[in-house]
C-alpha cells in the first residue's frame, strides 16, 4: 500500500511539471491519406469522451450533459487551447493533432496544468491524435460545433498537393455540416499565397460568409490566434506577417 501511494505521489509530482517542448519535436508534415493506425469511433454516439474530460463525467458514466463545441484542427503544441480554456470555461474544447510526439506533449502539458490548478481550470481542454481530414464526422454530430480553428496549417505549396490543404472546397462542405448555423471558422497563416487560397475557397462556398475584419476587434479569439499560438509567436519573433480570415456558417441561401 505504502509503495503504491509513494509511486502515486511521485507521479503526480512528475505530472505537475510542464513538459519541455524540445523533446517533442516532430517534422511538420503528415500524409492525410495514409492510415496512421488511428483509433476512431464507428459513429459519434459511440465516442467515449470521459477520459478526455474526466471532471465532466461521473465515474460510472459515459454520458455527459456537455459536448465538444470548439475544436482546434492541427493544434500543434496547444498554445491556443491553453489560451481558450479560461475564455470559454463552460465549453469543451478539443485540439486535434496528427503527429504522435506533438500530441503527447500537449497531453502532458494539459495534465500538468490541471494538476497545478486545483480550481478546475483547464478541465475543459483536451487533445486527441487524429486525422481531421478523414474522420471528423465520426466524432461529431451535424451542427454540434460552434467554433473551428485552422491556424498556421501546412501550406502544401506544390500544386499537386493542394488537395491535402486543410481548407479545400470539399472539406469546407464537411466543416459546414459539422458547424451549427452561426458557428465560426477561423483561419490564420503567415503564408500570403495560402491565405489568398483559403479566402478564395471560403468566399466561393455558399454556406460560409466572411466576417469583416473590423467586426473582429471585439473577438477575444483573434488576440489568442495572433499572440498565443506557437506559430503565431514564431512569426512575431521573426517580425513576419500574419494573415487571418474568419467566416460564419450561414444557412443555404436558397432554402
Amino acid at each position: 500500500m505504502e509503495d503504491s501511494e509513494q509511486i502515486e505521489t511521485m507521479q503526480s509530482e512528475e505530472i505537475a511539471k510542464l513538459p519541455r517542448k524540445r523533446f517533442f519535436r516532430q517534422r511538420a508534415h503528415a500524409n492525410p491519406f495514409s492510415d496512421h493506425d488511428l483509433i476512431y469511433p464507428l459513429k459519434p454516439s459511440e465516442m467515449d469522451w470521459s477520459p478526455f474530460y474526466p471532471k465532466y463525467f461521473s465515474s460510472d458514466s459515459k454520458e455527459s450533459t456537455k459536448k465538444v463545441e470548439i475544436i482546434d484542427v492541427g493544434c500543434g503544441y496547444g498554445g491556443l487551447l491553453v489560451a481558450l480554456a479560461p475564455l470559454f470555461p463552460d465549453q469543451l474544447i478539443l485540439g486535434m493533432e496528427i503527429r504522435t510526439k506533438v500530441e503527447d506533449y500537449v497531453k502532458k502539458r494539459i495534465d500538468a496544468l490541471r494538476a497545478q490548478n486545483k480550481n478546475d481550470l483547464y478541465q475543459n481542454i483536451s487533445v486527441m491524435r487524429m486525422n481531421a481530414m478523414k474522420f471528423l464526422p465520426n466524432f461529431f454530430e451535424p451542427g454540434q460545433l460552434s467554433k473551428m480553428f485552422f491556424l498556421f496549417p501546412d501550406p502544401h505549396f506544390k500544386r499537386k498537393k493542394h488537395k491535402n490543404r486543410i481548407i479545400s472546397p470539399n472539406l469546407l462542405s464537411e466543416y459546414a455540416y459539422l458547424l451549427k448555423v452561426g458557428g465560426i471558422l477561423y483561419t490564420a497563416t503567415d503564408v500570403k499565397e495560402l491565405h489568398e487560397w483559403m479566402v478564395e475557397k471560403c468566399d466561393a462556398h455558399p454556406l460560409f460568409e466572411r466576417i469583416p475584419d473590423e467586426e473582429l476587434s471585439n473577438d477575444p479569439c483573434i488576440r489568442c490566434i495572433l499572440n498565443e499560438t506557437e506559430e503565431g509567436k514564431k512569426v512575431a519573433r521573426n517580425k513576419g506577417d500574419k494573415y487571418f480570415a474568419v467566416y460564419r456558417r450561414i444557412e443555404d441561401p436558397d432554402e
Partner: protein, 365 residues
C-alpha cells in the same frame, strides 16, 4: 486460354461485357451486336462502364485515365475526356447529358457528354478512395462509398450540402445498390461480415444481413474451398421480382435475396463452376454471370434463367460472347482487388515496405 470478362452491365435490354480493353455489346431486343475498342494503342484495362437510361450511350473509363462515351448503335466514340485520377465508378444523370465519376483520390467530377471543351467539374470529395457512386432516381442525392467505412449522402445538384453519413460498416465498402420499388432504401456491402440495409436519407440502419454465417454454411454444405475474408464483388437487382443478387471475391456462389416488407430474405444460393467476376440481371430477370478462367474453363459467361428448379440459357444466346482474345496467363490477383482494400492487408503491405526501406538504409550505411 481466353481473356475473361471482368465487367458486365445491363440496361434496358442491352448487355455490355468488358474484357481487357474491349467491350462486346448486345441488344437483346434486336439481337444487334457491336464491339468497342476503348484504346487500341496502349491496351490498358477497362475499369468501369455504365449505360445511360435508354442504353443508347455507354460510358467507359480505363486505366489510362481516359473517359470515353460510345454510341451503342453505331459503335462510334462520341467524345473522349481525360480524368485527373483513375475512375472507380460512374453514373449517368437521368437525362443522359452528364456523367458523374468517382475516383481513387476521393473526388467526384461531373463531365458533360455534349460539351467537348468542358473538362470536368469538381462536385465533392472524400479524403479517401471512392469505391462506388449512385444517383437517386429523383436526382436529389448523390451517394458515395469509400475505403474508410463511410457512405456519404450529398444533396444534388447542390453538392456543397452534406445530408448525412451512414455509419455502421467496420471495413471498406465496395458496392451499393438501391432496393427495387423502394428507392428510399439502399443496400451496401464490402469487407464486412454484414450487408447493411439503410434508410439513407435519415442515415438509419434498417437491417443487418449476416453474410458470414451464410457464406460459411454455403462453403460447408457444398464442399467449397474456404476463404479467409469476405469481400463483396457485386450487388445487383431485378425490379420486376424484387430480387437482389450478391456475389463475393474468390467464392463460386451467387446469393439471391427477395424483399418483403422492407426486409431482405435469402431466397436461394447457386453454386457456379468457376470463381465469379461480375453479375448483371437482364431485362427479363435472367442473371448473367461472368467468370474467371483457367485451363479447364469452357464458358466465359453463364446465364441463369430460373432459380427453382434452376435453369440455364442455352449456348445459342451466348454465341456472340463465346470468344474473346487468347491470353497466356490470367493472374487472379488482378481480378480480385477489393480484398486489397482491407486495413489489415494494407497494414501488412506497409510493414513489408518499411522493412524493405530499413534494409535498404542499412545497406547504404
Amino acid at each position: 486460354m481466353k481473356a475473361p470478362y471482368h465487367l458486365i452491365k445491363s440496361t434496358n435490354g442491352c448487355i455490355a461485357a468488358a474484357y481487357k480493353n474491349k467491350i462486346k455489346i448486345k441488344n437483346l431486343n434486336t439481337d444487334k451486336t457491336i464491339e468497342i475498342n476503348q484504346d487500341e494503342v496502349k491496351k490498358t484495362s477497362i475499369r468501369s462502364i455504365n449505360f445511360n437510361n435508354d442504353a443508347s450511350i455507354l460510358a467507359v473509363a480505363s486505366d489510362d485515365k481516359n473517359l470515353k462515351f460510345w454510341d451503342v448503335n453505331t459503335g462510334k466514340c462520341l467524345l473522349a475526356k481525360n480524368t485527373p485520377k483513375k475512375v472507380n465508378s460512374l453514373v449517368f444523370e437521368n437525362n443522359g447529358k452528364n456523367v458523374l465519376v468517382a475516383d481513387g483520390f476521393g473526388d467526384v467530377y461531373r463531365y458533360s457528354i455534349i460539351d467537348s471543351e468542358e473538362n470536368g467539374k469538381l462536385m465533392m470529395g472524400h479524403v479517401s478512395m471512392l469505391t462506388d457512386i449512385l444517383l437517386s432516381r429523383d436526382e436529389k442525392y448523390i451517394l458515395t462509398s469509400d475505403r474508410d467505412e463511410k457512405i456519404r449522402v450529398t444533396k444534388y445538384p447542390k453538392t456543397y450540402i452534406i445530408k448525412n453519413f451512414c455509419f455502421g460498416h467496420k471495413e471498406y465498402i465496395s458496392k451499393m445498390c438501391f432496393i427495387p420499388n423502394n428507392e428510399s432504401l439502399l443496400l451496401s456491402g464490402g469487407g464486412d461480415d454484414y450487408l447493411f440495409l439503410w434508410d439513407y436519407v435519415n442515415a438509419k440502419v434498417i437491417q443487418k444481413i449476416d453474410i458470414k454465417t451464410l457464406i460459411e454454411d454455403t462453403i460447408k454444405n457444398n464442399n467449397l474451398n474456404s476463404i479467409e475474408t469476405y469481400n463483396v464483388k457485386e450487388i445487383t437487382s431485378y425490379s420486376e421480382e424484387n430480387l437482389i443478387a450478391v456475389c463475393f471475391e474468390k467464392l463460386p456462389a451467387v446469393f439471391f435475396f427477395d424483399i418483403k416488407d422492407n426486409k431482405l430474405n435469402i431466397k436461394s444460393t447457386i453454386i457456379t463452376e468457376n470463381l465469379i467476376l461480375d453479375i448483371a440481371f437482364d431485362n427479363k430477370g435472367r442473371l448473367w454471370i461472368t467468370n474467371f478462367v483457367d485451363e479447364n474453363t469452357k464458358d466465359l459467361i453463364t446465364i441463369i434463367s430460373r432459380l427453382s428448379p434452376i435453369e440455364y440459357v442455352d449456348k445459342e444466346e451466348l454465341k456472340f460472347f463465346e470468344n474473346t482474345e487468347d491470353c497466356e496467363n490470367v493472374d487472379i490477383s488482378k481480378y480480385m482487388t477489393n480484398e486489397n482494400l482491407r486495413k489489415d492487408v494494407l497494414d501488412a503491405k506497409k510493414a513489408q515496405q518499411e522493412e524493405g526501406n530499413t534494409a535498404k538504409k542499412q545497406k547504404t550505411k
